[in-house]
Symmetry: C2
Subunit: 124 residues, 2 copies
Amino acid sequence: MERIPILKLQNYLLVTIQVELHDQLAITLQDDLTQTLSRTHARGVLIDISALEIVDSFIGRTLAHIASMARVMDANTVIVGMRPAVAITLIELGMSLTGIRTALNVDKGMELLRRADGSDPESS
Amino acid sequence: MERIPILKLQNYLLVTIQVELHDQLAITLQDDLTQTLSRTHARGVLIDISALEIVDSFIGRTLAHIASMARVMDANTVIVGMRPAVAITLIELGMSLTGIRTALNVDKGMELLRRADGSDPESS
């Protein structure tokens, strides 16, 4: 099981991270995600991190890389399900995840992606 | 990370199984799922097993248990993303997953749940 599954939900891709992200797994995820974006023409990526009790600088960097890759492939990225303790740690690590949008849960994340997609002028 | 996250998608719950399901983890998942069903009044459960290369009789039984529990809580269960090799193994193990619906991917699974929900007479 050395692969994080990427689920397609309508026009978006959903990734649930629930295992320790080591180097190789992070690279595989980035590869798989860019390939799936290119194949499915998805408009956004939702990454659920509700299972993560700890987000270290490696995971933070990986998430930022994924968001940048998605951006150059014309897709938005939203991180959902961040635990309060994780938010505190991230800021303490000096990682404010600039350029990555966040939402409290998948429903709100999908709403955010849809709004960004519909080029709503009110989209944040 | 001794917990499989349960995501809420509109009226449905989505569970992606990507780690080895041992006894305690299966029990925790069943507990979490029934509690989430009761709290959210979700109408269905989608279980994605696309990450599983092997489904043994323990996992098969766990999936069947989850479906039965969901049923008595008035929710349908759909298993999505089964690999061809897993389908072969399941049948060879004599587990035909009776009472559990399956769909090829999350979108089709959601469609199945929506149809069952809308009490469409054509729903299979």
